[in-house]
């Protein structure tokens, strides 16, 4: 074997703390290394060209590049060596940037460590084998999980491009959080006027199948061929028959149900159509409030329904779909602000959340767009907005900025003045974060044109006094304590990953961070991909973002999915397990532990043997670590290869 070694300077990123020439010199003494050099930017065009030239000139059969993390540029270099006629798996990387040059400044230690990492890589490379991928067919259908604005955008873009799309929405209507908003910043245009038509498009698109009030139950399979089980929750109304006339909701006698869509601002009925523009515009029964279910008798809705759609016996139903790719767009939820006892923890009716306030402002909301104090129905004069409630607060485990609260608070302050001209808004803020197109100008307008008083400081306590709310805060610019007598307090409640997001991530086998947000494949270069091939992200499930960004990401995810599913065949990763049949004793231990059921028992001349199903194997290597005699080996990560790396380090 002829190995060539290339030590990348990465400008000064590596060369600043590693003596790259010295590393190359040491590398030239390693077994089978016939050529070693240092190179300014291995990944840049001249760098790749130099590698290709060296392969040709020295007849290299394997290449080691010591540079950044293989998680970044391994594919780049594999393509490069392939261009020079070397199999892409006859290539190894040594990570001397993230794992060496960036974490310490001791040049002697770094240079030595880099040289050792190269030795490990070369030792492994000596045992690399040429691997060739196999092709398998693709299911040209996309699953979109979540029917908020990001999911809608992804679904429509993909469907418009001719892809079949299956959309799953947890709630009885699509629209997500955006459907609850009255207006949007910084244009103050009507939220439902811009979202509504897109929701209708989803309903009417011939390529989109919508499962509302449904949840993802199970995902198996792999990129190009996922098997998905969707549980359609019982709505107790046959949606094929329901015309959405709303007669049932008018007649329902249980009028004190919690109104989920309206965030509990005012009650609703047990059988509901969440709002007039709901998609699908179908009724469903909330079992916990329904008299038929709780008392065993009522049946009013069944009696009044003109099409006989109500069915109290309805059961959950599971549908199975095959898809080639998945877009997760599950959005966010509000932080549980009731942990703030100092803000009343929910004891004071006139302390409301920003989303509740949106519903109050909305003309189609429960108050018909009239802002009223929940306690006595009067119109407030002094309205206090408190920002960063549940954001930037390490003490409740939410140290991050939710990103959009500053802007919606400004919008709400403007709308307050529009709705109640005689009102005065006070906004307690820590910092105003408005780095968007027209955003900062917007936050100036609310102060300059609408007269909202912005107070730089946090609110320490809210308590009732004589029918008003006393808001005790600080104005740190004045350096004093301040108090405001408020009629209504609106908490700009921060957001968090939607409930059960981690459970969904586990089903999809994608990573999530400590807060439950899904992890993108790379923070800069793969913002809508995940580390699981075929699964993409859109919207706030990946990290909190406002509407324009969510829409952009929805389109991006659709583009990525289209790119994947435009192909008829996909290449399988050849880094999978394979069985040496004469060494296998048929003990079944590998079969027992394989998380993907990718190993089956076959009969070979009367002897039981294990066999890997190549398209199902994901290459985790658990079988390899389980097999006592090492009869099953994970290609490219064989026992011998890992042992070679260990031995390159520990040789007594």
């Amino acid at each position: 074997m002829k190995i060539g070694v290339f030590i990348c300077h990465c400008g000064s990123n590596i060369a600043g703390t590693v003596d790259c020439a010295a590393v190359a010199e040491r590398a030239s003494t390693y077994p089978d290394v016939v050529y070693a050099t240092d190179i300014m930017y291995a990944c840049a065009e001249p760098g790749q060209d130099a590698i290709i030239a060296a392969i040709k000139k020295h007849g290299l059969t394997g290449v080691v590049v010591a540079s950044c993390t293989p998680r970044m540029h391994e594919p780049t270099f594999r393509k490069a060596v392939e261009r020079a006629g070397v199999n892409r798996y006859m290539f190894e990387m040594a990570n001397i940037r993230e794992h060496v040059s960036w974490i310490g400044k001791d040049i002697e230690a770094n240079t030595n460590k880099a040289a050792e990492l190269v030795r490990m890589a070369a030792a492994k490379l000596r045992l690399d084998r040429e691997l060739k991928p196999k092709s398998f067919p693709v299911t040209k259908r996309l699953l979109v999980i979540g029917g908020g604005v990001a999911g809608i955008q992804a679904a429509l873009d993909a469907a418009d491009a001719g892809l079949e799309v299956v959309m799953v929405e947890k709630q009885p209507t699509i629209g997500g959080k955006m459907a609850k908003l009255d207006k949007t910043f910084p244009t103050v245009d009507c939220s439902s006027c811009i979202l509504g038509p897109r929701m209708v498009d989803v309903a009417q698109h011939p390529n989109i199948t919508l499962y509302a009030y449904a949840e993802l139950e199970e995902v198996s399979g792999y990129v190009g061929n996922f098997d998905v089980k969707i549980r359609k929750k019982a709505t107790y109304v046959d949606w094929d028959k329901c015309t959405g006339c709303g007669l049932c909701t008018e007649k329902c006698p249980s009028k004190k149900s919690y109104d989920r869509f309206n965030e509990g601002v005012g009650p609703t009925t047990a059988i509901i159509i969440p709002f007039p523009q709901a998609i699908p515009k179908k009724a469903s029964i909330e079992r916990e409030y329904c008299r038929q279910f709780n008392k065993g008798k009522c049946g009013v809705c069944a009696k009044v329904c003109p099409t006989g759609a109500v069915n109290y016996e309805m059961q959950d139903e599971t549908v199975e779909v095959k898809v080639g790719g998945i877009v997760a767009a599950t959005g966010y939820d509000l932080v549980d602000w009731k942990v703030y006892s100092e803000y009343g923890g929910g004891r004071y009716p006139d302390v409301v959340t920003s989303l509740q306030y949106e519903r109050m402002l909305s003309a189609s909301g429960p108050t018909g767009g009239h802002v009223k104090r929940p306690s006595d129905g009067t119109e407030p004069v002094n309205v206090v907005f408190v920002q960063c409630v549940g954001s930037r607060d390490p003490s409740i485990g939410r140290p991050y900025c939710s990103g959009f609260c500053c802007m919606y608070t400004a919008k709400q302050a403007i709308l307050t003045k529009d709705h109640i001209p005689g009102s005065q808004s006070y906004v307690f803020y820590m910092d105003i974060r408005s780095p968007g197109k027209g955003y900062d100008e917007f936050t100036r307008r609310v102060q300059e044109e609408y007269g909202a008083r912005y107070v730089r400081g946090r609110v320490s306590m809210i308590y009732p006094k004589g029918g008003k709310l006393m808001v005790r805060g600080a104005d740190t610019l004045m350096g004093t304590q301040v108090e405001v007598e408020a009629d209504l307090v609106v908490l700009a409640v921060g957001a968090e990953a939607s409930a059960n997001s981690s459970a969904l991530a586990e089903k999809l086998r994608i990573s999530y961070d400590g807060y439950g947000f899904f992890m993108e494949g790379h923070p800069k270069l793969k913002p809508v991909e995940t580390n699981t091939a075929g699964v993409f992200l859109a919207g706030s499930c990946q990290g909190l973002k406002d509407i324009p960004s969510s829409v952009a990401q929805g389109s991006a995810a659709a583009a990525k999915a289209l790119g994947l599913l435009s192909r008829d065949m996909l290449d399988s990763d050849p880094q999978i397990a394979s069985v040496s049949v004469n060494r296998c004793v048929g003990c079944r231990k590998c079969i027992e532990v394989c998380p993907f059921k990718a190993i089956q028992e076959v009969d070979m001349r009367g002897q039981p043997k294990a066999e890997v199903i190549e398209t199902v194997c994901q290459g985790c290597g658990l079988c390899n670590a389980t097999c006592p005699q090492g009869a099953i080996q994970l290609s490219h990560f064989t026992d011998n290869q890992i042992l070679a790396e260990v031995e390159a380090l520990c040789r007594f």
Partner: protein
């Protein structure tokens, strides 16, 4: 009827249904019995079970897979049968298990120590049991030894003297040995301290001759010809004579048996150099038992082939 006779009639009853019954018969020396493969009533003549029935007959079961066989087992052997069945290395329904109460077996090395200077164990002409003692005919006359002084260590902590999973059980069940800590020997061993133990294994393993008798005697070492000790693909070990490779083989054996070893002790008994290789396996068994409450041989899924999402007994370091 004596236990011997009962066993014989149980074997006779089984013979029509099985290709053979594995038991014990006369060995090369009076102190050593040997495995006996009983294929017909004629073979029964040499059969005996008792104080000399040291070998674990479960060893032969995986290679006899495919036809119905019978096996006469001590309690510890029965654990091996149970473990083999739990791992589907044998089919339990293919094995007719005949059990009897075992009150301990001989440790010939201990006899040798008792006879030290007087004669070799191979020179003992006959052995006769006399209550709690045995009488040995040696060239230098009759020697009386207390059984308890020459019984195998494992019998002194035996929790399963009666083959619990036997299809046929003869004789009266005897009481298990109750010990406060079944692994006190390991605790004592560990108490010698890290430095001494390291030196201990260096010394012991320097004597190892790589004969693999330990492995060949292990009823759960089913890889046999495919053992990693000799393979190049994967190549875990060199064929050199160094301590580290020889010790590493023992580590491989112990790790491959973790959560599986029933503690039958055949590895250690088979070692021609008397290296206490069972200690490594018992150290792991102790840990497995502590973590998962698992004693190999009971028929449950081996703990390392399964998991719990929340492991109540694993206290992970939190790195705070």
């Amino acid at each position: 009827m004596s236990i011997q006779d009962e066993l014989k009639s149980a074997i006779t009853a089984a013979l029509p249904d099985v290709s053979c019954v594995v038991g014990w018969g006369a060995g090369p020396e009076p102190l050593r019995a040997a495995p006996l493969f009983i294929r017909g009533e004629a073979d029964l003549e040499g059969f005996s079970a008792g104080f000399l029935s040291v070998n674990n007959p479960a060893l032969y079961l995986p290679s006899l897979k495919g036809s119905k066989v019978g096996v006469v087992v001590k309690g510890c052997d029965a654990r091996s049968v149970g473990q083999l069945a739990a791992e589907t290395l044998i089919k339990r329904e293919e094995v007719h298990v005949i059990g009897y109460p075992c009150r301990g077996v001989i440790d010939v090395d201990k006899v040798a120590a008792k006879l030290a200077g007087a004669c070799e164990t191979g020179e003992v002409a006959a052995l006769r049991e006399d209550g709690d003692d045995v009488l040995l005919n040696t060239p230098k006359g009759e020697v009386r030894l207390a059984k308890k002084d020459i019984t195998a260590d494992k019998c002194g902590r035996c929790a399963f003297p009666n083959a619990g999973n036997a299809d046929v059980f003869v004789g009266e069940r005897c009481a298990p040995v109750v010990t406060e800590d079944g692994y006190a020997d390991i605790a004592d061993f560990e108490a010698r301290g890290l430095d001494e133990l390291k030196a201990f294994w260096e010394q012991e393993m320097s004597r190892c001759i790589r004969c693999y008798a330990c492995r060949n005697a292990c009823p759960l070492c089913v890889c046999r010809d495919q053992c990693v000790a000799m393979s190049r693909e994967p190549h875990w070990l060199s064929q050199g004579d160094g301590v580290r490779d020889k010790l590493f083989f023992q580590i491989i054996h112990a790790v491959h048996l973790s959560g599986r070893c029933t503690g039958c002790g055949e590895c250690e008994r088979a070692c021609p150099l008397g290296i206490p290789v069972l200690k490594l396996k018992r150290a792991l068994s102790r840990r497995v038992e502590k973590l998962f409450g698992y004693k190999a041989g009971g028929g449950d899924t081996p703990p390392l082939l399964t998991f719990l999402v929340e492991e109540p007994t694993i206290k992970e370091r939190d790195w705070k």
